[in-house]
């Protein structure tokens, strides 16, 4: 708070900020509340139960969908985060920064249905071209390269998640001084050693945050996945088809709440770890003597 500001006005602004956060969270919190009610939404009597969660965990279709979702999340993370890291490192030294940043951030601005539709039609056309080439060469090995499948869903989700990882890693890299890499290289380290032993420990937090964001984004995503996935189902595609076909059932509330719990737990942990780490670093910094300046 600055010296010009009225303390009551300052408190009022804080209250407003917290009300906005709470308002954004209310629908999700309300769904969580309903998911524990044995009588479901709109009932006069609230009876606490874990029955709906038990039903989810015993539903083989859902467990299968969960398995696909987790596999997709892991594969996308393993590919997208290193790609974002490479792109961020390239961006730092690139002459034409505008082109790099435009290409990597543009997917943020393209709505999911538009990106999904464009990729769907492109993949179907690409698949037709590959089959035609295969037929020309007398082989069927190209037939399923771009058929809607796990791979096409992975490509769509990489395009969707890479901007987030890129920004998170780039922000962390902003604190890294390139002179350290130059010093390492001057001492004889090759590029990989300079990166792995000097730079990576300092940007690790950003890379791990990018991994967590990517897993959550893939876990939550519906539109792009449903358009590009081919013959398997993810947790959200099962949930949404259930909601659109039969409306919100008690089980749908529990499924929605479960996804939200996972996301909040992961992001909440990151926020907590970040805060604790910042406090620890600040304490260590306070304990050190001031550097001598000549």
């Amino acid at each position: 708070m600055n010296e010009y500001e009225n303390p009551w006005l300052h408190r009022l602004k804080w209250t407003y900020l917290l009300i906005v956060v709470l308002t954004l969270m209310i629908p999700v919190l309300y769904v969580m509340y309903i998911s524990f009610n044995a009588n479901g939404f709109g009932a006069n009597e609230y009876v606490f139960t874990l029955e709906w969660y038990g039903l989810i965990l015993s539903d083989e279709i859902l467990i299968g969908a969960l398995r696909w979702t987790m596999t997709l999340a892991v594969v996308v993370t393993v590919i997208a985060v290193p790609m974002a890291l490479l792109a961020a490192k390239y961006y730092k030294t690139a002459d034409n920064k505008l082109f790099v940043v435009f290409l990597l951030l543009a997917p943020l601005f393209v709505p999911p249905d538009i990106l999904g539709s464009a990729l769907l039609v492109s993949f179907k056309n690409l698949n037709a071209v590959f089959i035609w080439v295969g037929n020309g060469l007398g082989t069927s090995m190209f037939d399923s390269w771009f058929r809607l499948s796990f791979m096409t869903a992975t490509i769509g989700l990489i395009i969707y998640t890479i901007p987030y990882s890129f920004v998170v890693i780039l922000i962390t890299m902003g604190r890294y001084r390139n002179e350290q890499t130059e010093a390492a290289r001057a001492c004889g380290a090759n590029g990989w050693r300079a990166f792995w032993d000097i730079e990576f420990p300092q940007i690790r937090a950003g890379v791990f945050s990018a991994c967590a964001f990517t897993v959550i984004l893939v876990f939550n995503e519906y539109t792009r996945t449903s358009l590009l996935k081919g013959g398997f189902d993810t947790f959200t595609t099962v949930l949404i088809s259930q909601m659109l076909n039969t409306g919100m059932s008690a089980q749908s509330y529990a499924m929605s709440a479960l996804i939200s719990f996972v996301a909040i737990a992961v992001i909440g942990s990151i926020i907590l770890i970040t805060l604790i780490r910042a406090e620890t670093l600040a304490r260590i910094a306070r304990g050190k003597p001031e550097p001598a300046t000549s």
């Binding site: 600055n2 010009y4 300052h10 602004k13 407003y16 956060v21 954004l24 629908p27 999700v28 309300y30 769904v31 709109g42 790609m83 490479l86 792109a87 390239y90 920064k97 790099v100 290409l103 990597l104 601005f109 393209v110 709505p111 999911p112 249905d113 538009i114 539709s117 464009a118 990729l119 039609v121 056309n125 890479i162 780039l170 922000i171 902003g174 001492c187 004889g188 380290a189 090759n190 590029g191 050693r193 032993d197 000097i198 959550i216 939550n220 995503e221 539109t223 358009l227 959200t236 949404i240 749908s252 929605s256 996804i259 939200s260 996301a263 909040i264 992001i267 909440g268 926020i271 970040t274």
Partner: protein, 304 residues
């Protein structure tokens, strides 16, 4: 770091020239691989929507040719009216998001100590990280006739009859857009306020300038690139996220995303591509105008 440095030098063996050259080549391509991937699987498919949109529709797919049938289907039907209507409601959502969200960005930059600013902004990541589809669906039990909002207002004696205009109407879509995209104007506003140093507020206070004039003549011109980027994001997503009118809107609440997905369900792929091409043209035009007016590269300053 010192130990890391000594480790780095200790374990290093001089590399031979040939492997070094191939390593350098590998590194050259590795750093460019993400860009190549994005060009192949993002830029080209988005650009190809224009080409596919003029293909001829067949029973289940499309074939190469040149026809403007898809554009006729879009511009000379109720789809255009729906699209223009969704533009109007998206614009309303942008204005509401700006009014509700931008003061938070200003407050965080102006009144919260530098070390705590990022932590406060992190609070808004929490709702954003819950699946958008869950958040939109979750609005139904909140906004419907016997939902949380109506029940609470009735219990408090504020209303006698439940408000039914909150769901399955354009109002419902606007509420959904604000609830979904509000964090983005806070994030972009927070980045934009990087261009407004704290001392500027003190200078304005010393001169006795009121909050409105300070906002209009000082903050707005300096933070314009970030505000514009956030607004474009909300506007374009309001036009393109089919889920919002699909779940919260009623009759007539149709946006470009919904037209595209309906076209795909009806196996009218050229129409879906025409809608995608129109959306991309809208987005590029907005970004071009923004860049001409405000130089959007200024937003990148904190990332450089």
């Amino acid at each position: 770091m010192t130990s890391a440095l000594s480790n780095a030098t200790g374990g290093v063996t001089p590399a031979k020239s040939v492997p070094l050259a191939s390593r350098e080549r590998l590194a050259y391509w590795a750093f460019r691989a993400p860009l190549i991937f994005m060009v192949l699987f993002f830029a080209i498919p988005m650009a190809m929507t224009v080409v596919f949109s003029v293909f001829e529709r067949t029973m289940f797919w499309m074939e190469p040719g040149f026809t403007l049938q898809a554009y006729e289907n879009f511009f000379f039907s109720a789809r255009l009216t729906n699209f223009l209507n969704s533009m109007k409601y998206s614009l309303i959502s942008v204005v509401i998001c700006f009014i509700l969200g931008f003061p938070i960005a200003v407050f965080v930059r102006k009144s919260i100590p530098l070390v705590a600013q990022h932590r406060v902004v992190l609070l808004f990541i929490l709702p954003f990280m819950v699946s958008e589809i869950i958040r939109v669906f979750a609005l139904r039990p909140v906004l419907q006739r016997n939902g949380l909002l109506n029940t609470t207002l009735t219990n408090l004696g504020i209303i006698d009859e439940p408000i039914t205009a909150l769901l399955y109407t354009h109002t419902g879509v606007v509420i959904g857009e604000v609830m979904s995209f509000l964090p983005f104007i806070i994030f972009s506003g927070f980045l934009a306020m990087e261009a407004v140093p704290k001392f500027i507020f003190e200078v304005c206070d010393d001169l006795g300038v009121g909050p409105w004039r300070r906002f209009k003549d000082v903050i707005l011109p300096l933070a314009a690139p970030g505000i514009f980027a956030g607004s474009v994001f909300i506007f374009v997503n309001g036009l393109g996220v089919a889920l919002l009118p699909n779940i919260l809107g009623g009759a007539g609440a149709v946006n470009a995303g919904l037209i595209a997905t309906q076209a795909i369900s009806a196996l009218d792929f050229p129409l879906a591509m025409a809608v995608s091409a129109i959306m991309m043209a809208t987005l590029m035009t907005l970004l071009w105008i923004g860049h001409r007016l405000f130089d959007l590269t200024k937003i990148l300053t904190p990332l450089s």
